[in-house]
Symmetry: D2
Subunit: 226 residues, 4 copies
């Protein structure tokens, strides 16, 4: 009899802890463009973040999932939200978009109008929030790393980043301000006004230092949030 | 017993006529850009179409509804499909889009990539068809009316129109080929290679002759369909 | 003997005054785009400069001449240098160009490549210097007046202005740094981040305050030079 | 007396042959962009033309000289006319320009305005004609080889080619209409609407068939001219 009770207790505890593990493991989807597509590769910012989670012994608490596609703009995210994000039933979605919305204007004439960037961004966020999912918004970092405000897209990146900052504040959504982080870093460490090679290898995509900077900033944001 | 049968027959007839009335007034929503936004104004192509319906004594059969917004591109239609079209529970949706997807490339660097034009167009059509709604697709007409293939956007308009033609054929969807209609008209009546003033007043937006040409073509398409 | 001395003195005075007349009326040609084309109108920066010269009683020393044409880029100046500037045999040429070289990239796809801007600018300067004519170079001021570095063309204006600054320093040519003047002014007086209305009426062309700021800066440069 | 006559005859013959040598070897400079830069390489259109001249035993009559630089637009030719062409004292200059003037609009926002294309083109021609040098003008061929008028730059290439055709006719200057040649060729041999691989290897630069077509057309033009 006692054995039976003991076994039952054990079973309940086991199931509880299992349930704890299952609920505990917060699924975070990283939704973005090529920077995020590369982020899941070895040494990428999502991979580094995962290592950090393992190092802190919290791999039973977080599950990271990449959903980045090269060349994506905000309306591409809107189009594939259901299929690539909501269907995964995440607890948190990190949205990092904007570089191509600005860059593709001069690169191929297919950037995103400033007003429509806001309209699609808001529609995206509302659809995610409607599912009770938490959000982390990220500002587009850089197209060119010169720190004297002379990168051709600096004006527009600042404009679009300003919009995201204001939106995040108004909507009380967590923000990782990569644009500010990258500008501050280059102001400090890039006196030679190098165009690339500080936090990116090609003016846009992250090198090791860039991946580390981003991983650290997101890690901080996740910890203060969950 | 006979009374019962008679009553049943009467009931069936009543229901049928009711169903006829309900089904009879086909609601057609015109979904597009500024050309369609202007189409509902007096003398616009939707207004002319409505007059034609009245003249033919068929105003109890068709209800026309404009849903055009200036500057819209295919992804703008996708964004507002639910709110501006599906919520109206139409029987038919006419989709006329593409001019801004091409034009805004050079005008403000915010046109639509060729591949994404197709992806959004298809997503739009699928969402409409999923509701059992019939479709009429329309090719973008002109940006400039010279008939010697020297309007700056001629190449891209042909490219995007070709995509729509192929898509309509493959999906067996009704097509009103405005691009072809306008080119044929100018080949015939525009030997002086005027840039505007034939079917448009400003290279893009319809003048009286343009509105009439479009209204006639859509009228024909509607009649062969419904 | 006394007669001889008196005669010599007279001769010297005569020669001095002759030399004064000849050297005195310096012809300054203002070579640029629409900003300079508007500069000769009442209240324009060249008109204000002329008033200043009259007020200082120096109208017998300076002759100002406008040579601005709307929409001009650096290679347009190069094309019309002989006809519109060198043929006037000026003592000083002020070159103010660059706004359209940057702006027309996004406005109509016909801006000037960064490297070619430098090549044409240098060719222009060399042709002017080969005639023994003095130069004043002016940096392009603004396209949009927000002071938070979020005007779309800020990055490129800074890039092209940097080139002119470096070139003027290397070649030891007088520089009026309008870009810096306008940015500093807006940093101080435009906390509301207005897009226009501070020193321009339309983001680019000078209002009264703008014309005054420019006239004052050029006046200072002229005085320290001639 | 006889000796004198003999001597005079000899002198005349000598002078005639000298004059023949001097007049005989006509120097033709090919002035253009990357297509012409590649034209001097083995198998390039200028190389093929040279082989043709040797085959016809006329290498003592013609001297061919390449002056093409990749990325050049009409104003780049204007800038380097003196240095790269006039200084060579050619008898004939072939001007083949226009592809980049159109292409760079969408490629990098630095194409050439239609009106300025004409202004620089005319200035270039006038400077060459002022030296008594003969001209051959060539229309820009293709950016994309589809023959159904759906290459994105078709409209503008036709527009700019039309300008050159009209100009050549008005000024009575020899014309090699490469645009027409390439379109006709593709209309005949490119039913599959291939984008490249017919006369170009990358939509713009000539493959073997393209180099041959161009060499033949220029050879014909040179023979009817000189």
């Amino acid at each position: 009899m006692r054995i039976k009770i003991a076994f039952t207790v054990l079973l309940i505890i086991s199931l509880m802890s299992l349930s704890f593990i299952q609920k505990g493991r917060q699924k975070i989807v990283f939704f973005g463009d090529s920077i995020t597509e590369l982020g899941v590769k070895k040494g990428g910012y999502i991979d580094l973040l995962n290592n950090q989670i393992i190092r802190h012994g919290k791999s039973n608490q977080y599950e990271l999932m990449g959903a980045g596609i090269g060349g994506n703009k905000v309306y591409d995210l809107y189009l594939r939200l259901e299929r690539d994000v909501l269907s995964k039933e995440p607890d948190v979605v990190l949205v990092w978009i904007g570089v191509n919305d600005v860059w593709h204007k001069s690169l191929m004439g297919t950037g995103t109008d400033y007003d429509k960037f806001g309209i699609f961004y808001d529609a995206l966020v509302q659809k995610i929030q409607a599912k009770g999912i938490k959000l982390i918004l990220v500002t587009p970092a850089v197209i060119g790393e010169r720190s004297d405000h002379s990168n051709p897209q600096d004006g527009e990146l600042n404009l679009y980043a300003n919009w995201i900052r204001k939106y995040a504040t108004e909507k009380k959504i967590a923000l990782v301000d990569c644009r500010k982080l990258f500008i501050d870093y280059n102001a400090k460490y890039n006196p030679k006004q190098l165009d690339k090679g500080m936090l990116t290898y090609d003016r846009v995509h992250l090198n090791d230092a860039g991946n580390q900077l981003v991983a650290d900033a997101i890690w901080e944001s996740i910890q203060s949030m969950l």
